[in-house]
Amino acid sequence: MTATVPDVEATIAAGVTPHLGRSPRRSGRASVRRSPVKNRMGYVFVSGYTVLMLVFGVFPALYALVLSVTTIDGSFAGFDNFAKVLGDYRFLPAVGHVAVYLAIWLVSLLVLVVLLALIVHAIRIRWLSTASRFVFYIPGALAGASSVMLWLFVLDPSVSPVGPLLEAFGFESFVQTINPANLPVVFTVIAFWTGAGGWIVIMYGALNNIPEEVMEAAKIDGANAVQTAVRIQLPMMRKWIAYMGIMSLAAGTQLFVEPQLLSQASNAVVANDYSLNQLAYLYAFQQNDFNGSAAISILLLVIALALSAFFVARGGLFEKD
């Protein structure tokens, strides 16, 4: 989950990609000269990046794959490591934790981000619209450990700015607030607080890209705000909503920093094997079982790669020539 905010930012910036004028590029295509010199310069220009990509993208994945199917002395182990981690008594609970968190987080993210974007977009008072986006977006600066740290304070009834609210829900102490049963909601709140603003800004941009004529036509036909939202705006934001869903799903499976810090801050009321990434970490650092750690990493990586590849192939949001 360290990934959430950078991801969202990355995503926002990726917002530059769609709707870019294609025509000038297409017509310009013909004038590209592909001399041999140019060929060679192309290789020179991409060389540094390609090396980094191989060393920190491709090789680590392949190496983890090799580790995951070998034993500690390097002989072939087949699926033994996978069987071992799948059979670990901590594995299924970790899957369960992540799944419950994902379900709550994705639903609230999708519903609230779309709703807030529609509202901010509908505001006629310009300063209010700008100010709202600003307030929603700023928490994105606090990512990873910093935002979790801040929320440790907010969730501790003795110092919390919303102490009375926590007490109204029956939480008298920090340990009660972070009762394991509450954690999926707690993580959702933290992730939403940090990341939603970026997505709202993206969705706002997507709404602005809907041609004014379409909106006018709907108004002339007598559609009210809700009908316009449901019949026109939502369908036209479909790709972006799918993008947000898939990216958030991929990032959510990686949950790490939130439970890690809560575990530390709560004297292990929150277990340090709450999520899958934590389990992979424990395998490597506590049990010195790199093969087991690699097996869990590969499972997580496969999920992330599958979601990403699916979106690149089918999402239609990114230019790939």
Partner: protein, 317 residues
């Protein structure tokens, strides 16, 4: 980044075609009014949700530990209180915080420099030159860009561990420098915003291929270079998992990881840590602010630039 937008004139046309938009609609049926009321309520609720924690955190740094618990959460402590917390924070473990902040700056900035040096030419080559495996490189870039960066942390750890690089600053700086998103951003920019005829003209005038890049394309790409620099810096500075795994020694921690050392020494959260070196809650609050300060400043002062970059082609203003 407005240069990235499809047609700058288009936005202006739209605004002109919509004079009604300027007058705040003060008329309306009772139904519209209640709708507006609900909307205002939702906005206010979420505005408070996003703003309260930050406001509280800023105020908390000015209070003494007892003020923090007893006084109104939104009261201002005192400047003296702030000074006390400041001194306590920088006295922690003989000024460890200074070292952590320095490490964060060192790792983030070095990685940022490498990122720019490799990404901008790569984006340029992907957009404007032809070479074998170009499309494969582009698609791989996209796929890797969209996977969460935490997904590769343990695999990279296992790899670097096998070559004995764990504990070296390079184990953080080099993985940070691999930033496919930066390549993709520059690719899009060069692909759409640089007139190819301009580059062709430079060639006819006898400019070398390298000169075409450094003298023509690069100066035109300043906005996108700034944007890549920003995203790279923020991502590096805020990264927790990678340095947490790669750097075992406390004096090598970046601030994000150092923050957890402070947390471990806070008796309020970790009663076993009570002692001379313990950290009080307001000091921890100040540490949290310090850990994001550079990023927060960039967010505050370049928000307009960033947001217009993020949603170029779609902004109203």
């Amino acid at each position: 980044m407005t240069a990235l937008s499809t047609a700058p004139g288009h936005v202006a046309d739209r605004a002109a075609a919509r004079p009604a938009r300027r007058s705040p609609a003060l008329r309306g049926t009772p139904g519209q009014w209640s709708g507006r009321f609900v909307v205002a309520l939702v906005l206010l609720a979420f505005g408070l949700f996003f703003a309260i924690p930050i406001v509280w955190l800023l105020l908390a740094t000015t209070k003494s530990p007892t003020d923090l618990i007893q006084n109104n959460p939104f009261s201002f402590g005192s400047l003296d209180g702030f000074a006390v917390n400041w001194n306590a924070l920088f006295a922690f473990q003989d000024g460890a915080v200074v070292g952590w902040l320095g490490n964060s700056a060192l790792y983030s900035v070095l990685a940022l420099v490498i990122t720019l040096v490799v990404s901008v030419p790569a984006g340029y080559a992907l957009a404007l030159t032809e070479f074998r495996l170009r499309r494969a490189l582009l698609v791989t870039t996209l796929v890797v860009m969209l996977i969460p960066n935490t997904a590769l942390v343990l695999p990279v750890f296992l790899e670097l561990n096998s070559v004995g690089l764990i504990g070296s600053p390079l184990a953080v700086i080099l993985p940070f420098s691999f930033f496919p998103f930066g390549v993709y951003l520059t690719y899009i920019y060069f692909n759409t915003s640089i007139p190819r005829d301009l580059l062709a003209a430079a060639r006819i005038d006898g400019c070398t291929e390298f000169g075409v890049f450094t003298r023509i394309a690069l100066p035109l790409a300043t906005p996108v270079v700034a944007l890549v620099a920003f995203f790279s810096f923020v991502q590096n500075w805020n990264n927790y998992f990678l340095p947490f795994v790669m750097l075992p020694a406390s004096d090598q921690y970046p601030m994000q990881v150092g923050l957890t050392s402070l947390l471990a020494s806070t008796p309020a959260f970790n009663p076993s840590s009570a002692g001379a070196a313990s950290v009080q809650l307001p000091t921890l609050a100040l540490a949290t602010i310090m850990s994001v300060l550079p990023v927060l400043i960039v967010f505050l002062f370049s928000q307009r630039f960033l947001v217009s970059g993020m949603t170029a082609g779609g902004t109203k203003e």
